[in-house]
Symmetry: none
Subunit: 180 residues, 2 copies
Amino acid sequence: MSVTTVYATLDSPLGELLVVGEESATAPGGVALRSLSVPGQKGGAVVRDGWRRAPELFGEAAAQLKAYFAGELTRFELAYADGGGTEFQRRVWGAVEGVPYGETTSYGKVAESIGASRAAVRAVGTAIGRNPLLVVRPCHRIVGAGGALVGYAGGLERKRLLLELELHAHGAHGTRGPVR
Amino acid sequence: MSVTTVYATLDSPLGELLVVGEESATAPGGVALRSLSVPGQKGGAVVRDGWRRAPELFGEAAAQLKAYFAGELTRFELAYADGGGTEFQRRVWGAVEGVPYGETTSYGKVAESIGASRAAVRAVGTAIGRNPLLVVRPCHRIVGAGGALVGYAGGLERKRLLLELELHAHGAHGTRGPVR
DNA sequence: AGCGTCATGTCCGAATTCCGCCAGCCCCGG
DNA sequence: CCGGGGCTGGCGGAATTCGGACATGACGCT
Protein backbone atom coordinates (compact mmCIF):
# COMPACT_ATOMS: atom_id res chain seq x y z
CA MET A 1 0.00 0.00 0.00
CA SER A 2 3.01 2.30 0.04
CA VAL A 3 3.35 4.37 -3.10
CA THR A 4 6.07 6.90 -3.72
CA THR A 5 5.35 10.00 -5.74
CA VAL A 6 8.01 10.90 -8.26
CA TYR A 7 8.22 13.75 -10.71
CA ALA A 8 10.27 15.26 -13.48
CA THR A 9 10.20 18.27 -15.78
CA LEU A 10 10.51 18.34 -19.55
CA ASP A 11 10.92 21.24 -21.95
CA SER A 12 8.32 21.48 -24.71
CA PRO A 13 6.76 24.01 -27.10
CA LEU A 14 4.13 24.54 -24.38
CA GLY A 15 6.74 25.40 -21.78
CA GLU A 16 8.16 23.28 -19.00
CA LEU A 17 5.94 20.25 -18.54
CA LEU A 18 5.60 18.85 -15.03
CA VAL A 19 5.27 15.07 -15.14
CA VAL A 20 4.13 13.32 -11.97
CA GLY A 21 3.96 9.57 -11.44
CA GLU A 22 3.50 6.88 -8.84
CA GLU A 23 6.05 4.25 -8.07
CA SER A 24 4.41 1.28 -6.45
CA ALA A 25 6.34 -0.84 -3.98
CA THR A 26 4.74 -3.95 -5.42
CA ALA A 27 5.95 -3.21 -8.95
CA PRO A 28 9.44 -1.77 -8.55
CA GLY A 29 10.77 0.12 -11.51
CA GLY A 30 7.36 0.64 -13.01
CA VAL A 31 6.01 4.16 -12.86
CA ALA A 32 2.38 4.99 -13.57
CA LEU A 33 1.60 8.43 -14.92
CA ARG A 34 -0.60 10.44 -12.62
CA SER A 35 -0.48 14.01 -13.81
CA LEU A 36 0.88 16.17 -16.57
CA SER A 37 0.64 19.93 -16.37
CA VAL A 38 2.09 23.18 -17.69
CA PRO A 39 3.28 26.26 -15.79
CA GLY A 40 0.47 28.53 -14.66
CA GLN A 41 -2.19 25.91 -15.29
CA LYS A 42 -5.43 26.48 -13.43
CA GLY A 43 -5.64 23.27 -11.42
CA GLY A 44 -2.07 22.26 -12.15
CA ALA A 45 -0.02 20.00 -9.91
CA VAL A 46 2.36 21.52 -7.41
CA VAL A 47 5.51 19.79 -6.20
CA ARG A 48 5.19 18.89 -2.53
CA ASP A 49 7.59 17.86 0.17
CA GLY A 50 8.16 14.15 0.08
CA TRP A 51 8.07 13.93 -3.69
CA ARG A 52 11.20 12.54 -5.27
CA ARG A 53 12.71 14.09 -8.37
CA ALA A 54 13.44 11.23 -10.74
CA PRO A 55 13.88 12.36 -14.36
CA GLU A 56 15.28 9.06 -15.49
CA LEU A 57 12.13 7.17 -14.58
CA PHE A 58 10.09 8.83 -17.27
CA GLY A 59 12.21 7.73 -20.19
CA GLU A 60 9.34 6.21 -22.11
CA ALA A 61 6.98 9.09 -21.39
CA ALA A 62 9.60 11.62 -22.37
CA ALA A 63 10.34 9.82 -25.60
CA GLN A 64 6.69 9.67 -26.61
CA LEU A 65 6.09 13.30 -25.69
CA LYS A 66 9.08 14.41 -27.76
CA ALA A 67 7.86 12.34 -30.69
CA TYR A 68 4.40 13.85 -30.32
CA PHE A 69 5.67 17.39 -30.36
CA ALA A 70 7.77 16.49 -33.42
CA GLY A 71 4.58 15.40 -35.16
CA GLU A 72 5.74 11.81 -35.35
CA LEU A 73 3.41 10.18 -32.83
CA THR A 74 -0.36 10.19 -32.97
CA ARG A 75 -1.26 7.95 -30.07
CA PHE A 76 0.24 7.62 -26.59
CA GLU A 77 0.87 4.23 -25.06
CA LEU A 78 1.70 4.70 -21.41
CA ALA A 79 0.90 3.21 -18.02
CA TYR A 80 -1.58 5.39 -16.18
CA ALA A 81 -2.23 5.54 -12.46
CA ASP A 82 -5.79 5.33 -11.26
CA GLY A 83 -6.63 8.96 -11.87
CA GLY A 84 -9.47 9.06 -9.38
CA GLY A 85 -12.34 11.31 -10.30
CA THR A 86 -16.05 10.71 -10.06
CA GLU A 87 -18.02 8.22 -12.08
CA PHE A 88 -19.17 11.02 -14.35
CA GLN A 89 -15.67 12.39 -14.86
CA ARG A 90 -14.32 8.96 -15.73
CA ARG A 91 -16.92 8.55 -18.42
CA VAL A 92 -16.19 11.97 -19.86
CA TRP A 93 -12.46 11.35 -19.85
CA GLY A 94 -13.00 8.01 -21.53
CA ALA A 95 -14.94 9.69 -24.32
CA VAL A 96 -12.21 12.29 -24.73
CA GLU A 97 -9.62 9.58 -25.20
CA GLY A 98 -11.67 8.26 -28.09
CA VAL A 99 -11.20 11.38 -30.18
CA PRO A 100 -8.61 10.63 -32.84
CA TYR A 101 -5.48 12.61 -33.57
CA GLY A 102 -6.03 15.68 -35.71
CA GLU A 103 -9.80 15.69 -35.29
CA THR A 104 -12.03 17.75 -33.04
CA THR A 105 -15.45 17.32 -31.54
CA SER A 106 -17.78 19.42 -29.43
CA TYR A 107 -18.76 19.35 -25.77
CA GLY A 108 -22.29 18.48 -26.84
CA LYS A 109 -21.11 15.47 -28.85
CA VAL A 110 -19.17 14.25 -25.83
CA ALA A 111 -22.23 14.59 -23.64
CA GLU A 112 -24.26 12.67 -26.18
CA SER A 113 -21.67 9.93 -26.56
CA ILE A 114 -21.68 9.11 -22.85
CA GLY A 115 -25.44 9.02 -22.76
CA ALA A 116 -25.77 12.12 -20.65
CA SER A 117 -28.56 14.62 -20.92
CA ARG A 118 -27.95 17.26 -23.54
CA ALA A 119 -28.16 19.81 -20.76
CA ALA A 120 -25.14 18.24 -19.14
CA VAL A 121 -22.78 19.98 -21.54
CA ARG A 122 -21.65 22.41 -18.90
CA ALA A 123 -20.89 19.57 -16.54
CA VAL A 124 -18.91 18.01 -19.36
CA GLY A 125 -16.97 21.24 -19.67
CA THR A 126 -16.01 21.31 -16.02
CA ALA A 127 -15.13 17.63 -16.07
CA ILE A 128 -12.81 18.11 -19.04
CA GLY A 129 -11.32 21.13 -17.30
CA ARG A 130 -10.21 18.84 -14.50
CA ASN A 131 -8.40 16.42 -16.75
CA PRO A 132 -5.17 15.68 -14.88
CA LEU A 133 -3.34 14.48 -18.00
CA LEU A 134 -2.87 17.45 -20.29
CA VAL A 135 -1.77 16.67 -23.86
CA VAL A 136 -1.73 12.92 -23.28
CA ARG A 137 -5.46 12.82 -22.78
CA PRO A 138 -6.49 15.07 -25.66
CA CYS A 139 -8.89 17.48 -24.02
CA HIS A 140 -7.57 20.08 -26.44
CA ARG A 141 -9.55 18.34 -29.21
CA ILE A 142 -12.85 19.39 -27.68
CA VAL A 143 -14.05 22.71 -29.05
CA GLY A 144 -17.27 24.69 -29.09
CA ALA A 145 -20.23 23.59 -31.20
CA GLY A 146 -19.45 26.40 -33.64
CA GLY A 147 -15.83 25.36 -33.85
CA ALA A 148 -14.57 28.13 -31.60
CA LEU A 149 -11.85 27.40 -29.09
CA VAL A 150 -13.65 27.94 -25.83
CA GLY A 151 -11.31 27.26 -22.97
CA TYR A 152 -8.26 25.37 -21.87
CA ALA A 153 -6.72 24.88 -18.48
CA GLY A 154 -3.32 25.68 -19.93
CA GLY A 155 -4.54 28.76 -21.78
CA LEU A 156 -6.21 29.09 -25.17
CA GLU A 157 -2.93 29.88 -26.91
CA ARG A 158 -1.54 26.47 -25.99
CA LYS A 159 -4.76 24.80 -27.14
CA ARG A 160 -4.43 26.45 -30.55
CA LEU A 161 -0.79 25.47 -30.74
CA LEU A 162 -1.59 21.82 -30.12
CA LEU A 163 -4.39 21.74 -32.69
CA GLU A 164 -2.25 23.38 -35.35
CA LEU A 165 0.52 20.94 -34.61
CA GLU A 166 -1.82 18.03 -35.17
CA LEU A 167 -3.18 19.56 -38.35
CA HIS A 168 0.10 20.31 -40.02
CA ALA A 169 2.12 17.39 -38.74
CA HIS A 170 1.47 14.89 -41.47
CA GLY A 171 -0.80 17.18 -43.39
CA ALA A 172 -3.20 14.37 -44.20
CA HIS A 173 -5.59 14.43 -41.29
CA GLY A 174 -9.17 15.51 -41.68
CA THR A 175 -11.11 17.59 -39.18
CA ARG A 176 -14.71 17.53 -38.16
CA GLY A 177 -14.98 21.24 -37.71
CA PRO A 178 -13.14 24.44 -38.49
CA VAL A 179 -10.54 25.56 -36.03
CA ARG A 180 -10.40 29.25 -35.48
CA MET B 1 -5.34 50.58 10.38
CA SER B 2 -1.78 49.29 10.72
CA VAL B 3 -0.92 48.02 14.15
CA THR B 4 2.40 46.51 15.10
CA THR B 5 2.57 43.77 17.69
CA VAL B 6 5.38 44.14 20.18
CA TYR B 7 6.39 41.99 23.10
CA ALA B 8 8.79 41.65 25.99
CA THR B 9 9.55 39.22 28.79
CA LEU B 10 9.88 39.95 32.48
CA ASP B 11 11.09 37.79 35.34
CA SER B 12 8.67 37.37 38.24
CA PRO B 13 7.90 35.01 41.12
CA LEU B 14 5.52 33.27 38.69
CA GLY B 15 8.27 32.68 36.15
CA GLU B 16 9.02 34.55 32.98
CA LEU B 17 6.03 36.70 32.09
CA LEU B 18 5.31 37.25 28.41
CA VAL B 19 3.92 40.74 27.84
CA VAL B 20 2.34 41.48 24.48
CA GLY B 21 1.12 44.86 23.28
CA GLU B 22 -0.06 46.77 20.26
CA GLU B 23 1.66 49.82 18.89
CA SER B 24 -0.74 51.87 16.81
CA ALA B 25 0.55 53.91 13.89
CA THR B 26 -1.85 56.69 14.82
CA ALA B 27 -0.52 56.96 18.36
CA PRO B 28 3.25 56.47 18.06
CA GLY B 29 5.04 55.64 21.25
CA GLY B 30 1.88 54.50 22.99
CA VAL B 31 1.60 50.78 23.60
CA ALA B 32 -1.67 49.14 24.61
CA LEU B 33 -1.47 45.94 26.62
CA ARG B 34 -3.02 43.00 24.84
CA SER B 35 -1.89 39.90 26.65
CA LEU B 36 0.03 38.76 29.69
CA SER B 37 0.84 35.12 30.19
CA VAL B 38 3.14 32.70 31.99
CA PRO B 39 5.14 29.76 30.59
CA GLY B 40 3.08 26.64 30.04
CA GLN B 41 -0.19 28.49 30.34
CA LYS B 42 -3.15 26.72 28.79
CA GLY B 43 -4.27 29.29 26.25
CA GLY B 44 -1.12 31.37 26.58
CA ALA B 45 0.22 33.64 23.88
CA VAL B 46 2.92 32.41 21.55
CA VAL B 47 5.46 34.68 19.89
CA ARG B 48 4.91 34.74 16.14
CA ASP B 49 6.93 35.88 13.18
CA GLY B 50 6.44 39.55 12.57
CA TRP B 51 6.30 40.44 16.24
CA ARG B 52 8.91 42.90 17.38
CA ARG B 53 10.80 42.45 20.62
CA ALA B 54 10.71 45.77 22.40
CA PRO B 55 11.44 45.51 26.12
CA GLU B 56 11.87 49.24 26.56
CA LEU B 57 8.31 49.98 25.49
CA PHE B 58 6.79 48.36 28.54
CA GLY B 59 8.54 50.56 31.07
CA GLU B 60 5.35 51.54 32.85
CA ALA B 61 3.90 48.05 32.80
CA ALA B 62 7.13 46.56 34.06
CA ALA B 63 7.34 49.09 36.88
CA GLN B 64 3.79 48.39 38.03
CA LEU B 65 4.24 44.64 37.84
CA LYS B 66 7.42 44.80 39.90
CA ALA B 67 5.68 46.99 42.47
CA TYR B 68 2.78 44.53 42.57
CA PHE B 69 5.00 41.56 43.19
CA ALA B 70 6.77 43.57 45.90
CA GLY B 71 3.41 44.04 47.58
CA GLU B 72 3.50 47.78 47.06
CA LEU B 73 0.79 48.18 44.41
CA THR B 74 -2.83 47.15 44.75
CA ARG B 75 -4.31 48.48 41.55
CA PHE B 76 -2.97 48.54 38.01
CA GLU B 77 -3.34 51.62 35.84
CA LEU B 78 -2.40 50.72 32.30
CA ALA B 79 -3.60 51.25 28.75
CA TYR B 80 -5.36 48.16 27.47
CA ALA B 81 -5.95 47.14 23.89
CA ASP B 82 -9.42 46.13 22.87
CA GLY B 83 -9.22 42.61 24.17
CA GLY B 84 -11.93 41.25 21.90
CA GLY B 85 -14.01 38.49 23.40
CA THR B 86 -17.73 37.96 23.31
CA GLU B 87 -20.35 40.11 24.96
CA PHE B 88 -20.64 37.61 27.77
CA GLN B 89 -16.90 37.39 28.30
CA ARG B 90 -16.59 41.16 28.46
CA ARG B 91 -19.19 41.33 31.18
CA VAL B 92 -17.53 38.59 33.18
CA TRP B 93 -14.12 40.21 32.83
CA GLY B 94 -15.59 43.53 33.89
CA ALA B 95 -16.97 41.93 37.05
CA VAL B 96 -13.61 40.32 37.76
CA GLU B 97 -11.89 43.68 37.58
CA GLY B 98 -14.22 44.91 40.29
CA VAL B 99 -12.89 42.48 42.88
CA PRO B 100 -10.60 44.43 45.21
CA TYR B 101 -7.03 43.58 46.11
CA GLY B 102 -6.68 40.94 48.80
CA GLU B 103 -10.30 39.80 48.59
CA THR B 104 -11.87 36.81 46.91
CA THR B 105 -15.28 35.96 45.55
CA SER B 106 -16.92 32.93 44.00
CA TYR B 107 -17.93 32.05 40.47
CA GLY B 108 -21.55 32.05 41.58
CA LYS B 109 -21.24 35.59 42.92
CA VAL B 110 -19.73 36.73 39.64
CA ALA B 111 -22.59 35.12 37.71
CA GLU B 112 -25.06 36.84 39.98
CA SER B 113 -23.36 40.22 39.70
CA ILE B 114 -23.62 40.28 35.92
CA GLY B 115 -27.26 39.30 36.05
CA ALA B 116 -26.70 35.84 34.64
CA SER B 117 -28.61 32.78 35.66
CA ARG B 118 -27.15 30.92 38.59
CA ALA B 119 -26.74 27.98 36.30
CA ALA B 120 -24.31 30.00 34.23
CA VAL B 121 -21.52 29.45 36.73
CA ARG B 122 -19.77 26.99 34.46
CA ALA B 123 -19.94 29.42 31.59
CA VAL B 124 -18.46 32.05 33.93
CA GLY B 125 -15.65 29.62 34.69
CA THR B 126 -14.77 29.12 31.06
CA ALA B 127 -14.97 32.85 30.41
CA ILE B 128 -12.58 33.60 33.26
CA GLY B 129 -10.31 30.86 31.99
CA ARG B 130 -9.91 32.77 28.76
CA ASN B 131 -8.82 35.98 30.42
CA PRO B 132 -5.93 37.22 28.29
CA LEU B 133 -4.50 39.45 31.02
CA LEU B 134 -3.21 37.23 33.78
CA VAL B 135 -2.36 38.93 37.08
CA VAL B 136 -3.39 42.37 35.85
CA ARG B 137 -7.00 41.33 35.55
CA PRO B 138 -7.34 39.47 38.85
CA CYS B 139 -8.97 36.24 37.80
CA HIS B 140 -6.98 34.61 40.59
CA ARG B 141 -9.33 36.21 43.10
CA ILE B 142 -12.21 34.02 41.99
CA VAL B 143 -12.43 30.82 44.00
CA GLY B 144 -14.96 28.07 44.57
CA ALA B 145 -18.08 28.65 46.64
CA GLY B 146 -16.50 26.70 49.46
CA GLY B 147 -13.33 28.73 49.30
CA ALA B 148 -11.36 26.07 47.50
CA LEU B 149 -8.98 27.03 44.72
CA VAL B 150 -10.61 25.42 41.73
CA GLY B 151 -8.54 26.14 38.67
CA TYR B 152 -6.13 28.56 37.09
CA ALA B 153 -4.81 28.81 33.57
CA GLY B 154 -1.32 29.26 34.96
CA GLY B 155 -1.62 26.38 37.41
CA LEU B 156 -3.11 26.26 40.89
CA GLU B 157 0.25 26.77 42.54
CA ARG B 158 0.62 30.17 40.95
CA LYS B 159 -2.91 31.09 41.98
CA ARG B 160 -2.12 30.26 45.58
CA LEU B 161 1.09 32.23 45.38
CA LEU B 162 -0.72 35.33 44.15
CA LEU B 163 -3.40 35.12 46.82
CA GLU B 164 -0.88 34.67 49.61
CA LEU B 165 1.08 37.60 48.28
CA GLU B 166 -1.99 39.81 48.43
CA LEU B 167 -2.85 38.57 51.92
CA HIS B 168 0.51 39.11 53.50
CA ALA B 169 1.63 42.17 51.57
CA HIS B 170 0.38 44.92 53.85
CA GLY B 171 -1.18 42.53 56.31
CA ALA B 172 -4.26 44.69 56.69
CA HIS B 173 -6.57 43.40 53.96
CA GLY B 174 -9.75 41.52 54.75
CA THR B 175 -11.00 38.51 52.88
CA ARG B 176 -14.47 37.35 52.04
CA GLY B 177 -13.67 33.71 52.27
CA PRO B 178 -11.02 31.35 53.56
CA VAL B 179 -8.18 30.55 51.24
CA ARG B 180 -7.11 26.94 51.44
C1' DA C 1 -28.13 37.91 -36.13
C1' DG C 2 -27.89 39.07 -31.25
C1' DC C 3 -29.17 38.52 -26.30
C1' DG C 4 -31.17 36.52 -22.19
C1' DT C 5 -32.44 32.18 -20.05
C1' DC C 6 -32.17 27.78 -18.46
C1' DA C 7 -30.54 22.94 -17.67
C1' DT C 8 -26.37 19.48 -15.23
C1' DG C 9 -22.44 17.67 -12.26
C1' DT C 10 -18.91 19.11 -9.46
C1' DC C 11 -16.11 21.68 -6.38
C1' DC C 12 -15.17 25.24 -3.06
C1' DG C 13 -15.86 28.56 0.23
C1' DA C 14 -19.07 30.61 3.57
C1' DA C 15 -22.67 30.00 6.58
C1' DT C 16 -25.00 27.25 9.69
C1' DT C 17 -25.99 23.59 12.74
C1' DC C 18 -24.64 20.43 16.04
C1' DC C 19 -22.02 18.22 19.72
C1' DG C 20 -19.19 17.93 23.57
C1' DC C 21 -16.53 20.18 26.74
C1' DC C 22 -15.82 23.03 31.05
C1' DA C 23 -11.60 27.03 36.53
C1' DG C 24 -19.37 25.26 39.36
C1' DC C 25 -22.80 24.21 42.52
C1' DC C 26 -26.59 21.96 44.75
C1' DC C 27 -28.58 17.94 46.45
C1' DC C 28 -28.75 13.41 47.90
C1' DG C 29 -27.36 9.06 49.95
C1' DG C 30 -23.68 7.02 52.72
C1' DC D 1 -18.94 15.29 56.94
C1' DC D 2 -17.83 13.30 52.50
C1' DG D 3 -18.36 11.87 47.65
C1' DG D 4 -20.68 11.54 43.37
C1' DG D 5 -24.23 12.63 39.89
C1' DG D 6 -26.89 15.73 37.46
C1' DC D 7 -28.14 20.09 35.82
C1' DT D 8 -27.08 24.43 33.72
C1' DG D 9 -25.03 28.33 29.83
C1' DG D 10 -21.61 29.64 26.64
C1' DC D 11 -18.24 28.55 23.42
C1' DG D 12 -15.18 26.29 19.87
C1' DG D 13 -14.39 23.09 16.57
C1' DA D 14 -16.30 19.45 13.57
C1' DA D 15 -19.72 18.24 10.60
C1' DT D 16 -23.07 19.58 7.48
C1' DT D 17 -25.64 22.33 4.48
C1' DC D 18 -25.97 25.83 1.09
C1' DG D 19 -25.15 28.85 -2.82
C1' DG D 20 -22.53 30.19 -6.38
C1' DA D 21 -19.40 29.49 -10.48
C1' DC D 22 -17.87 27.14 -14.28
C1' DA D 23 -13.84 25.15 -20.75
C1' DT D 24 -21.75 24.87 -23.23
C1' DG D 25 -25.62 24.85 -26.14
C1' DA D 26 -30.60 25.05 -27.53
C1' DC D 27 -34.56 27.92 -27.55
C1' DG D 28 -37.43 31.96 -27.95
C1' DC D 29 -37.48 36.57 -28.14
C1' DT D 30 -36.54 41.19 -30.52
